[in-house]
C-alpha cells in the first residue's frame, strides 16, 4: 500500500473538568492510506467524536490533547500553533462533516454566501471564480447549480447534508472525517449520501473516516474498522475480518445487537450495564464489568492491543473465548 496520508501515534485527549480528568481518548494508534476508509464505531460517550475533534486539533476546552502525534501528509498537526494549523492543515488537508451538520447553515445567508467563505479566507478566491468553484462541487455531490442562490430553508435535509459535504471538499482535502453523517436522515436519503461518499472516495481518492454507532452503515463504506470502548480501541483491522469473525467480546455483542432484515430472531442480544464513567474507568480491562467472559486477570491487568488472527485486539483471551 502507498504511503499513509494520516498517521496517528499514541493520541491521548483528556477533558479537565471540575469532577476530574475525563480520559476520553487514550493511546489511539492507526494509519490511513490514500483512498482508504476507516469506520469508527462504539456507543455514545466512547470517545468517537473526541477522536474526530482531536484529528483536526480542535478539541474544545476544558479538553486538550495530552500526548501523541498526528501526521497528515508528513505535517505534525499537534505541535503547530493555531494560526499555522488554520493555514496549513484544517480544511486544506483534513476536513470534517460535523454531526447534525444540516443545522450549522445560517438561515439568513444564501448557500452560496456560506460556501464561498472558506475559499475567500484560505485562498483569497472571490467573486465569479469562487462561484464557479462552488458550483462545480455542488454538481459533484449531485445537486443543481442553482442551489447556490437558495436559502437553507428552501432545501430538504438530504440536500443540506450534500451542501455541507460539498463545502468540506472545496479546499480539496486528503482526508475527510464524517461524524454521524446520516443520523436524522431517512433510509433512502441515507443510502444516497452513502453512495455519494463512496463515489467521492473512488473518484477523488479521498481517505475517509466514518464515525457512527450504527455498525450496519459502516460495513458498507469502510475498508478498515475500529471498535472503540471507553476511550480505547477494542478491535482494529480489516472490516471483513471483524464482521465475519469478531474477536473482542464487545465487538461480538455489538454486532449481535443489530436487528437483521431477513432473519427472524426471538431476542436481540444486549450488552448489560452502561459504558463506564471515564473520570474513574474500571481497573484492568475497561470492558470487564460488562464482559460475559471476564476472569480475574481482566480485573487486574489491562490488556495490551495485540495481533490476533490478522487484526489487533485488546483482550487477554481473544481467540480463546470468541
Amino acid at each position: 500500500m502507498s504511503d499513509p496520508v494520516l498517521e496517528v501515534k499514541d493520541l491521548t485527549t483528556h477533558y479537565f473538568t471540575n469532577k476530574g480528568e475525563v480520559q476520553a481518548l487514550d493511546d489511539a494508534n492507526f494509519s490511513l492510506a490514500r483512498g482508504e476508509s476507516m469506520g469508527v464505531a462504539g456507543e455514545s460517550g466512547c470517545g468517537k467524536s473526541t477522536m474526530a475533534f482531536s484529528l483536526i486539533n480542535q478539541v474544545q476546552p476544558p479538553g486538550r490533547i495530552v500526548d501523541g502525534e498526528i501526521s497528515i501528509d508528513g505535517i505534525d498537526a499537534v505541535s503547530l500553533s493555531e494560526t499555522e494549523i488554520r493555514k496549513q492543515v484544517r480544511w486544506k488537508r483534513i476536513s470534517m462533516v460535523f454531526q447534525g451538520a444540516m443545522d450549522i447553515l445560517t438561515p439568513v445567508y444564501t448557500i452560496g454566501h456560506q460556501m464561498k467563505e472558506p475559499l475567500h479566507y484560505h485562498q483569497g478566491v472571490k467573486g465569479k471564480e469562487a462561484r464557479e468553484k462552488c458550483e462545480k462541487y455542488l454538481g459533484e455531490v449531485g445537486l443543481d447549480r442553482e442551489i447556490f442562490t437558495r436559502y437553507p430553508h428552501e432545501l430538504s435535509g438530504g440536500q443540506k447534508q450534500r451542501v455541507i459535504i460539498a463545502t468540506s471538499l472545496l479546499l480539496e482535502p486528503n482526508v475527510l472525517i464524517a461524524d454521524e453523517p446520516t443520523t436524522s436522515l431517512d433510509v433512502v436519503v441515507e443510502a444516497q449520501i452513502m453512495n455519494l461518499l463512496k463515489r467521492l472516495k473512488k473518484e477523488l481518492g479521498i481517505s475517509m473516516i466514518f464515525i457512527t454507532h450504527d455498525l450496519s452503515i459502516l460495513s458498507e463504506v469502510s475498508n478498515k474498522l475500529s471498535i472503540m470502548y471507553a476511550g480505547k480501541f477494542a478491535e482494529l483491522g480489516g472490516a471483513e475480518k471483524i464482521y465475519n469473525n469478531p474477536k473482542h467480546p464487545y465487538t461480538e455483542k455489538l454486532l449481535a445487537s443489530i436487528p437483521r432484515l431477513h432473519k427472524d430472531v426471538k431476542r436481540l442480544e444486549r450488552i448489560p450495564g452502561a459504558p463506564p464513567n471515564l473520570v474513574d474507568p474500571p481497573s484492568g480491562c475497561r470492558f470487564h464489568p460488562r464482559c460475559p467472559y471476564a476472569k480475574k486477570k481482566c480485573k487486574e491487568e489491562e490488556p495490551e492491543i495485540r495481533e490476533v488472527e490478522g487484526r489487533k485486539v485488546a483482550c487477554h483471551f481473544a481467540g480463546q473465548v470468541t
Binding site: 433510509v187 436487528p259 444486549r270 452502561a274
Partner: protein, 333 residues
C-alpha cells in the same frame, strides 16, 4: 383473534393558511393530506409497524389514534367503541386510561424539573389513583421495576439529567404503563438511542407485550427493527398504505416498488459491499404533500411507471398473501 383497534378510512387533512387575496378571490382552499384513507385492524397482543420516510404521515396517524388530533373523516374503533368523536372530557379521559403513547425523544418528552417519581405520579394524580403518598410510591416502584430500573429506590428521586438516554426512555415507558393501558402508540421509541440500548428497549417492550397484554402501534422508519418487534407491517407513502401484511411475507418478498426500494436502501452488515455503489431503484425525495401526483402517488419516482399509473389510483388489493396498492403488483420483478 379479538380486534383491539380498528381504523376505517381514517383521514386527517391540514388546511393550508390562505392569504387575504386568495380568500377575497375565492380561490380553492388547499389541504395537506397527511393521512388519506387508512384502514387497519390490530388484534390483541399484536404489534403493527407503520414504516415510511419522514413526511409520509406516520406520526400524524399516531396522533390521530391517540386522539391528540381530531380525524377529518373516518372511524376509529377501540375495543368495539367508536372513539372518533368522543369529546366530553370524561370520555376522553377514560380513553386515555386505555391508550398511551411513548414519544420519540426522551430528552424532550420529560420535564427537567420532575423527578422520576413526579413524572410517574402525575398521571395518577389526574386519574385519581392511590389515596396516599405511600400507596402511590408503591405503584411507582412497581412500575420502575417493571421497566428494569432496579433497584427502584435508586432511580425514584432522579431528575432526567441524572439518567442516560436509555434510562430516560425506560421512565417514559413506565409513564405510559402506569395506568395499565391496553394499547400503546410507540412513535420511534428507539431512534434517538444507541444500537445496544435499542436492542435492550425493544426486548423490554416485547416482554411487556406478553406480560401486560399490550397491543402496539409501532411507528418507525427503521424497517429492520420492525422485523424483530412487530407481527404485521404497513408501508406508508404520502398518507396511504401501499403495502401491508405479515412482517415476514412483506419483507421477504416485497411486491410494491416502494417497499422494494426501501428495503434495498437499508444498510445490512455485508463488508463485501465496500467498493460497490448500491443501485437505488428510486430517485429523488418524497414530493410535496400539498400537490399530490395524479394517479398512483408513487409514479413519479417509480422505475416501472406506465401510462395507467399516471391516470388511475390503484386500490389496495390482495396479492400473494398481503395487500398491495400497485397496478402491476406481482407482474413486475
Amino acid at each position: 383473534m379479538e380486534t383491539v383497534l380498528e381504523a376505517r378510512d381514517l383521514k386527517k387533512y391540514y388546511r393550508m393558511s390562505q392569504s387575504f387575496f386568495d380568500r377575497m378571490l375565492g380561490r380553492e382552499e388547499k389541504y395537506v393530506k397527511a393521512v388519506d384513507g387508512v384502514n387497519f385492524e390490530i388484534p390483541r397482543k399484536n404489534a403493527m409497524a407503520v414504516v415510511g420516510e419522514s413526511g409520509c404521515g406516520k406520526t400524524t396517524l399516531g396522533k390521530v389514534v391517540m386522539r391528540l388530533l381530531d380525524a377529518t373523516a373516518g372511524e376509529l374503533i377501540m375495543e368495539g367503541q367508536d372513539v372518533t368523536n368522543i369529546s366530553r372530557s370524561g370520555e376522553l379521559k377514560a380513553y386515555r386510561r386505555t391508550t398511551q403513547m411513548i414519544f420519540q425523544d426522551p430528552f424532550a418528552s420529560m420535564d427537567p424539573r420532575f423527578t422520576a417519581y413526579n413524572t410517574l405520579e402525575e398521571p395518577m394524580d389526574i386519574h385519581d389513583i392511590g389515596n396516599s403518598y405511600e400507596e402511590r410510591k408503591e405503584i411507582v416502584m412497581e412500575a420502575l421495576e417493571e421497566v428494569q430500573l432496579t433497584p427502584a429506590e435508586e432511580f425514584i428521586d432522579r431528575y432526567p439529567h441524572m439518567l442516560s438516554g436509555g434510562q430516560k426512555q425506560r421512565v417514559a415507558i413506565a409513564r405510559a404503563l402506569i395506568l395499565n393501558p391496553d394499547f400503546i402508540v410507540a412513535d420511534e421509541p428507539t431512534s434517538m438511542l444507541d444500537v445496544s440500548v435499542r436492542a435492550e428497549l425493544l426486548n423490554l417492550m416485547k416482554d411487556l407485550m406478553a406480560e401486560e397484554d399490550l397491543t402496539y402501534l409501532y411507528i418507525t422508519h427503521d424497517i429492520s427493527t420492525s422485523r424483530f418487534f412487530s407481527d404485521s407491517i404497513s408501508i406508508m407513502y404520502l398518507g396511504k398504505f401501499v403495502e401491508k401484511g405479515e412482517v415476514g411475507t412483506v419483507l421477504d418478498k416485497p411486491l410494491h416498488p416502494y417497499t422494494q426500494a426501501l428495503l434495498k436502501a437499508v444498510p445490512e452488515p455485508k463488508p463485501e459491499m465496500v467498493e460497490v455503489i448500491k443501485e437505488l431503484p428510486i430517485k429523488g425525495e418524497v414530493p410535496d404533500a400539498v400537490n399530490l401526483p395524479s394517479g398512483c402517488r408513487f409514479h413519479p419516482r417509480c422505475p416501472y411507471s406506465q401510462e395507467v399509473c399516471e391516470k388511475e389510483e390503484p386500490e389496495l388489493r390482495e396479492v400473494e398473501g398481503r395487500k398491495v396498492a400497485c397496478h402491476f403488483a406481482g407482474d413486475v420483478p
